[in-house]
């Protein structure tokens, strides 16, 4: 048992933290969000240069053979800076699926480009009716000569408006909500029949609604059998946003503690009031527990038993959601009115944490997912 970082990981952590501190100030972020893309292509290029985009990929795919721990380190820094660049969409979700399911040709076409920062991806898995269930799919893919034609509507596709290629889940057989019969397809963003409506999200990101009308598509991975891979990559997404949440909560923790110690009311720092001290302690405890959840999510991601992986990742998501809500709401409350303004950082972190609570599924969804997953390994065998 060892929770320390090795030397390279420590270097990565230092470098990511320095980047956020020196190059990603809050006013710059404000400008970036208001820009047409909603993120900064220059920052993206820097991230590529620093080698961050290749971290999780194998050396033969042109990456650096990193483990989920490296992604955790980077996502925590992204959370600290509330960075809006499409790392989650392109590297974790899109890249993760290409690496897991792509054939040699697909990997060779996409991954080196992605790692070089020249290609953005998005994953379109949710649908208007699907709520949190990634198996709830009515978008269809029907065979058409050597390829497939897709029809349907994909909902709230993270960074769908700026992606060069988009991965879609679609039903090739089975009924709505069957886990069997689901396949993955990859489509160029400028393909005929794709209608992409991009919009800002409440937490400063961009997402898109995508309508597909007879869009020609190339399959990614085995037909009818994509659900397990989708589950794995969404679990990777959970681990990633768990770390992002920890970074964001750390900032709220630090800023709120600082505020309590400096803000004067009734002739004393408000941090001298025991009730506010104890609330701050509860924020601290939630943050530490969230850190445990993020570590668990990260280290369990490579678990061989899928049920044990689901169980741990869902548990982490439940805790992260609760902590995000508690820390976000109370950072605002302890700041008072000023915590609700657009001007202060606080509200922006609160908004991102609010969305993390439902992103990749609410607490109830994940409690039910845990109930239906029975890890083969003994719980105590960790």
């Amino acid at each position: 048992m060892d929770f320390t970082l090795n030397e390279e990981q420590q270097l990565l952590k230092n470098s990511a933290e320095r980047f956020v501190e020196q190059d990603y100030g809050f006013e710059r972020r404000r400008d970036i969000i208001a820009s047409p893309d909603g993120f900064d292509r220059e920052v993206w290029a820097q991230m590529a240069e620093l080698g961050w985009l290749g971290l999780p990929f194998s050396e033969e795919d042109g990456g650096y053979d990193g483990t989920p721990v490296e992604t955790m380190i980077l996502m925590e820094a992204i959370g600290c800076g509330l960075m809006v660049e499409p790392y989650l969409a392109t590297v974790v979700l899109g890249g993760g699926l290409i690496a897991a399911c792509g054939n040699a040709d697909q990997k060779a076409t996409i991954l080196p480009q992605l790692i070089a920062g020249k290609m953005l991806l998005a994953l379109a898995y949710a649908e208007p009716q699907s709520r949190f269930d990634p198996a709830d799919i009515i978008t269809t893919a029907t065979k058409d000569g050597g390829g497939y034609l897709l029809n349907g509507h994909k909902a709230v596709v993270l960074n769908g408006g700026s992606a060069d290629k988009i991965i879609f889940s679609a039903r090739t057989s089975g009924d709505q909500r069957d886990q069997g019969g689901i396949s993955l397809f990859i489509i160029d963003a400028d393909a005929a029949g794709l209608k992409i409506k991009s919009y800002p999200t409440i937490d400063g990101l961009r997402a898109a609604e995508i309508e597909l009308t007879n869009v020609a598509a190339e399959a990614l991975g085995k037909i009818d059998d994509a659900y397990p891979a989708i589950e794995v990559v969404l679990d990777a997404g959970i681990a990633a946003i768990a770390a992002e949440a920890v970074g964001a909560m750390q900032v709220l923790h630090d800023d709120t503690l600082e505020y309590l110690k400096t803000r004067q009311q009734f002739g004393q720092a408000i941090g001298s009031f025991q009730v506010l001290q104890h609330r701050m302690v509860d924020i601290y405890i939630e943050l530490e527990q969230a850190r445990s959840a993020a570590v668990m999510a990260t280290l369990r991601l490579t678990e061989n038993d899928p049920e044990a992986r689901c169980h741990a990742l869902s548990a982490a998501k439940v805790q992260i959601g609760q902590a995000s809500r508690f820390v976000g709401q109370n950072a605002v409350q302890l700041h008072g009115g000023i915590g609700m303004t657009d001007e202060l950082k606080i509200s922006h972190y609160f908004k991102r944490l609010t969305m993390i609570t439902t992103q990749f599924g609410s607490a109830d969804y994940h409690l039910d997912r845990m109930a239906s997953a029975t890890p083969q390994t003994n719980q105590e065998e960790i």
């Binding site: 949710a126 709520r131 909902a155 909500r177 409506k197 800002p200 999200t201 609010t354 109830d364």
Partner: protein
């Protein structure tokens, strides 16, 4: 003991309901139903409609144009207004400065201001909070120095709702530095177009503009605009705090938002069935019902006390705490209900007359902005922590 409204009260309620149904303009109703925000002209138009009906100022005495209602009638009116899609008139005119002028203003002030508050011609804003005096209001530092027949005001106010709409402000200023903080405060009426006043908007986290900072630089205010006596401003401000608190829990607002949430839960599909039929989510909804029902009884007990002429004192803090917690919890549950469609934020979609359509189902519009905005309920008007301090002192005598 009796749990029911009297026949007269029920008849009155029907009268109010009929009025709301027939007199609320269709375009206002639509704004509310689309989860959009009212702007100045909507509030004013509605105020003038209420004025026509004689219901513009529920709590004013008859001689100043009030309807002469009992506490229960006032409650019923507020409740029905809250349940309807009508704009809730900001309290600054009829609810706040009006009662202060009626109680402490001189005849000239009453004559000049009261009619224009009543008919919606003047929009008032409240100048209380300052950057360094939030919960500790008495530490305010905006200074008014007498210069012959004018006060010269310098300083800054913050969290001023709708200052950008306002014609006038009632304002707490420090006129005497030599006495203890509460004793040196005076209550001034200031025209917002007086030279030396500048505004800076505060954009809130839901990207809306309601709040402002107001800066005063050598703003000259005629001495006739002093309310009551110099140095008595704190007394008048406290008078207002004890005023009109029986609707403080905003039960009507929670009723509306819970009804809305139930409709969302019935429309949202989860695992092939309506979310409202998921047994765990259903229990959450019912639990909200329970909280609302109990809070309403507490509200009724308070109202009965008020009707009997008793001091409602500490109980108002209970309503404030539990009412704000309930509103926030309903809103939090609504965020959970709409799932991924909480994410899209199209600013234009929540503006009246905006051309952009919202993304996702109609019912999702405004849910997230509401959630963000409602965090204010446990902060403004004395944080819930301050409310507990008050209860510790007044109800438990610590």
């Amino acid at each position: 003991m009796d749990f029911n409204f009297s026949e007269q009260d029920l008849a009155f309620r029907q009268e109010v309901r009929d009025f709301m149904q027939h007199s609320l303009p269709e375009d206002l109703r639509e704004i509310a139903e689309h989860g959009q925000h009212f702007r100045k002209e909507h509030f004013v138009r509605w105020q003038k409609i209420l004025f026509e009906r004689g219901w513009a100022a529920p709590s004013w005495p008859v001689e100043h144009g009030g309807p002469g209602w009992t506490p229960t009638q006032k409650y019923i009116f507020q409740e029905e207004l809250g349940l309807s899609a009508a704009p809730m008139p900001p309290p600054f005119g009829t609810g706040m400065i009006g009662p202060v002028l009626i109680a402490f203003g001189n005849d000239a002030q009453k004559t000049e201001y009261l009619p224009r508050i009543l008919n919606g011609d003047d929009w008032w804003c409240q100048g209380y909070s300052e950057p360094d005096s939030g919960s500790d209001l008495a530490s305010l530092r905006t200074i008014a120095v007498l210069d012959e027949d004018h006060y010269v005001v310098n300083g800054q106010k913050i969290w001023t709702s709708y200052a950008q709409y306002a014609d006038r402000m009632f304002c707490l200023v420090r006129t005497d530095d030599s006495v203890k903080p509460q004793a040196g405060i005076s209550f001034l009426l200031i025209k917002m177009d007086t030279p030396g006043i500048t505004l800076r908007p505060i954009i809130s986290q839901d990207n809306d503009h309601t709040l402002n900072e107001v800066f005063f630089e050598d703003v000259r205010v005629p001495i006739k605009n002093l309310v009551g006596e110099a140095g008595q401003g704190w007394t008048y401000a406290k008078f207002l705090l004890g005023h009109e608190r029986s609707s403080i829990g905003d039960i009507a607002g929670s009723k509306r938002s819970l009804t809305r949430l139930k409709k969302i839960a019935a429309a949202e599909i989860s695992g092939g069935q309506p979310l409202s039929e998921d047994s765990a989510f259903s229990r959450k909804l019912i639990d909200l019902d329970v909280r609302l029902m109990i809070l309403e009884v507490t509200q009724f007990r308070l109202l009965a006390d008020e009707e009997a002429g008793n001091d409602i004192g500490p109980a108002a803090s209970i309503l404030k705490i539990k009412g704000s917690e309930l509103s926030q919890l309903i809103s939090e549950t609504a965020v959970e209900a709409i799932g991924y469609y909480g994410m899209p934020y199209v600013h234009e979609a929540v503006q009246p007359g905006g051309n952009e359509h919202a993304v996702g189902p109609n019912y999702a519009t405004g849910i997230l902005p509401d959630y963000l905005f409602l965090r204010a309920l446990s902060i403004l008007g004395g944080t819930n922590e301050i409310q507990r301090n008050i209860l510790a002192k007044t109800a438990l005598r610590f």
